[in-house]
Symmetry: C2
Subunit: 193 residues, 2 copies
Amino acid sequence: MDKNPLVLLELVERLANLMRSELRRSSGDESLQPVHVQALVYLSRANRYSNTPQALSSYLGLTKGTVSQTLLLLDRRGLIERYQDDVDRRVVRLRLSTSGEQLLYEAQPALAWQNATRNISPNRIRNATSALREALATLLEDNEGALFGECTTCAHCQKLSQRISRCGLMGDRLSGPETRRLCWLFEPRGDEE
Amino acid sequence: MDKNPLVLLELVERLANLMRSELRRSSGDESLQPVHVQALVYLSRANRYSNTPQALSSYLGLTKGTVSQTLLLLDRRGLIERYQDDVDRRVVRLRLSTSGEQLLYEAQPALAWQNATRNISPNRIRNATSALREALATLLEDNEGALFGECTTCAHCQKLSQRISRCGLMGDRLSGPETRRLCWLFEPRGDEE
DNA sequence: TTTTATAGTATTGAGTCGATACAAAAAGTC
DNA sequence: GACTTTTTGTATCGACTCAATACTATAAAA
């Protein structure tokens, strides 16, 4: 049995543990839990199909009940807004409030990571990213979880013009910025861009 | 600002979150928390200098109080044994009990990961490992945390013969198997083996 | 000897998290 | 259209995490 993958797992777990301690520190006065900050970060990046409790549950790997609690707390503190979907009225849509955005901006939850990776060449970062992405994809395949990704590398995305794209799965037109947000319907393209 | 490091962070966090769900599932009947399994895995790998509550706290990035609670629980369930150090009687030494080892053997907490990485070439694994290790080292430098590592790549380790080594920092002789355990006194060597 | 530092434990309180049960809306079935 | 079933989310509960604080015991320093 090859032990190298285990070493990699160990690193992933340790880094995640340490970054969670960082998150705890960075949220400072607000005394948010790490998972709260992770939820805020996710919401700051989610596109229109993915700004729901369900997608967030899938992203965080937590049950919907747990996530519901998290969202209740974030709502009470005025960091997010919840509103009903017009079409499917079971669905709740989520977005960061102004103070939620402000908090993320001030807390800079990834600052320590930025520093920690400053001396690693872009090329090595890319290689590591690609390896981990593959691990994640396989892990989710076995688990029927969503991969999440940007439209820019999604199989469903059709480029209509320089600024406008279209999601082939949902049929909506998407602006440039929207194509750089996270989507849980993401399907990796065969060809690398 | 380069966004690639952030993508890597996202992957690390997601993988860790998912593996934590896996841990929850794998511990099965024992209904252990992910942290408990992580502690057991650590203890199964720690060397003689690192089998203490303090080293475990440092490894997990938790406070000593928190870790103390974890150890209490593991002790109550008979998964670990605690005993006093002969020389410094403040120090508590930890080791897995037989049922602790059994549990790890049966739960196979890394099985999902092994599967997820089965199609990634050893070379890419190594590259990713090296990049993440560097990130971890830098992160810990800023934080004065311990890096942890095996004697086989430690600057303090002196090879006396084919089977016997010696820790230059502590002065003890170490057997072959012992040099492949985790140590929190680890100092990376300048030269890569 | 006295002081200070270190290793660990005990307790408390806010919060996580899954499990279960529930409500409401949508979708499928006859 | 009336019915079941599925999907989306919430409410409640209990075991547990985790940090903070205060504490004990031992060791090291002054």
